[in-house]
Symmetry: C2
Subunit: 318 residues, 2 copies
């Protein structure tokens, strides 16, 4: 915790630059979020060499208003992003991540701007020809750090549901290992692109009973490949309507994600994400008798703010 008060920003510009969206917040020295903005300018929409310009268009006014640094998490640090920030290997905490920041060198910038690296870990497989399988995250590591900072804990399990959900185990303030699950993408593919799409209404209101049935069905085994087909036959035999079927399918995929884990072993469980999604995970954990803490976008800002206290003594001038 080598805090450097003289160089700490009086206001931090915090950005979460993902694949499809760009969010930013202006944060004061105490960590309070003063403003937030979101743009549909994910890295996929930014042409090569165009990041500084998009940054200036979206946040140039804030950058000129006295913020001492800008920290950017997410896919902006990927190969297709602004500046590649190689993955920081687990175990990793504040200091490890801060040590791997990549400062953006661009004369057009009005403040020191750094990209936060993602995390990587290795799942050993002991298979001949496949000694290990890597796993990666970008952006979630900052949310995890933020959850730790806000919650004042250093040991637990963080779950970040989404297109590619992450399960991260934290010990003594560092992420020791994590696993990705393509849960959100599977749900989108199944409900919108598969045979099931014809009889599922993804716009229907959430149905907790049907969601619970999906969870319970998963708990009986059979596997997702088989259970997903039940969404077809329940419709074919008019046993479930298109609305509840969406929630049932959601229960099947989230249940499958939980089933792959030894969730009983987790100490403190924090679920970070959108309110609607974290509510579903809380329900699923509830059925297992495991209490959860829920957190939203504030985790990103808290993480970037806390990380700014770990900046190296001298930030480069822009």
């Amino acid at each position: 915790m080598a805090a450097t008060p003289d160089l700490q920003p009086t206001a931090l510009l915090a950005l979460d630059w993902g694949t499809s969206s760009l969010r930013g917040a202006r944060i004061d020295a105490t960590g309070r979020v003063m403003d937030e903005r979101a743009f549909p300018r994910g890295i996929l929409t930014v042409p090569a060499g165009g990041f500084a310009e998009v940054f200036d268009t979206c946040f140039g006014d804030w950058a000129r208003e006295g913020a001492q640094a800008c920290l950017i998490s997410g896919m902006a640090g990927s190969k297709q992003g602004w500046v590649e920030a190689p993955y920081c290997a687990c175990p990793a905490g504040f200091a490890d991540v801060a040590a791997e920041l990549r400062w953006v060198q661009d004369a057009r910038l009005h403040l020191p701007t750094a990209i936060v690296p993602g995390l990587s870990c290795e799942h050993r497989s002991a298979l001949p020809g496949l000694a290990g399988v890597p796993d990666v995250m970008r952006g979630e590591e900052v949310q995890i750090l933020g959850a730790m900072h806000l919650g004042g804990w250093r040991d637990g399990l963080c779950i970040l549901p989404g297109t590619h959900s992450k399960w991260a185990w934290i010990r003594d303030g560092r992420v020791t290992t994590f696993r990705s699950y393509m849960t959100g993408e599977f749900y989108a593919l199944l409900s919108q692109q598969s045979l099931l799409a014809r009889t599922i209404d993804t716009q229907a209101a959430f149905d907790a009973d049907a969601f619970g049935l999906g969870l319970a069905r998963t708990g009986q085994g059979g596997g997702l490949l088989h259970n997903a087909f039940s969404a077809r036959t329940l419709s074919l035999f008019a046993r479930m309507d298109a609305g509840p079927l969406a929630s049932y399918l959601s229960g099947l995929v989230i249940g499958e994600e939980l089933r792959a884990q030894d969730v009983q072993a987790a100490a403190r469980v924090t679920v970070i994400g959108s309110p609607s999604l974290t509510a579903r995970y809380a329900l699923a954990f509830d059925r297992l008798g495991i209490p959860t803490h829920r957190m939203g976008a504030e985790a990103s800002w808290a993480g970037l703010h806390a990380l700014s206290h770990h900046l190296p003594h001298r930030t480069p001038s822009p």
Copy 2:
């Protein structure tokens, strides 16, 4: 086995009318396939009321050449098909299926023509609000009957890989229960529509080693939602190329299908489908030390031919 020699067809017209394709064969009294034809005229391409016309266009010449009956299996018996043939409930064998044939009433037909029903079964779940989950097949039941007939067995396990793979358990000549797996559809969605599509070459030659790694990876647990993501990270870390990755992903999904079953308990295992697909399943079973029998399109024709020996005493005139 109430065979009725006087009414048995000297030549059977056998059709497998599926969702996307229409196949037919002319079969002599001994069961020998004399001719085969295939058309891209699956039921999705047939307008309402247009089945008789498509039938006549594709097989009218055969229908006029003295065949005594025509049996049609597959989606032609679905709600969206020619004549709905409600599912025959398991347990079901030759006699049960024959008793549920639906004869097509159409003055334009030149021979007695019947639709073979699919099979249904019920997976009891004992969940409040979901006492059971139905399962269905259409077309595969005829292949199973054909495999029994050709192989001369009455007890075993039949696997029919495909878009929606079927696992059917047969006892004393009747399908007692079966399970569907959306394996083929998952593979297509993942390899063509998901994030993985960018780094997977589905046109590459089959790579047995990579396929084996996928199978082995599945055997280590983690679940498909997690393991599928490894196809992404192995590419990201340049540990596997786009070609082998397609076979690896194939191993992951087929391995997941096998993992959901107690395959060791199976007596005789018959895999019915295309040569390339049944070869993969044979490889997967090989690794478990379980021998398999493989069978192709001949199973459909043998099944429809054998079924024609179970026709009711009097077939309606066309």
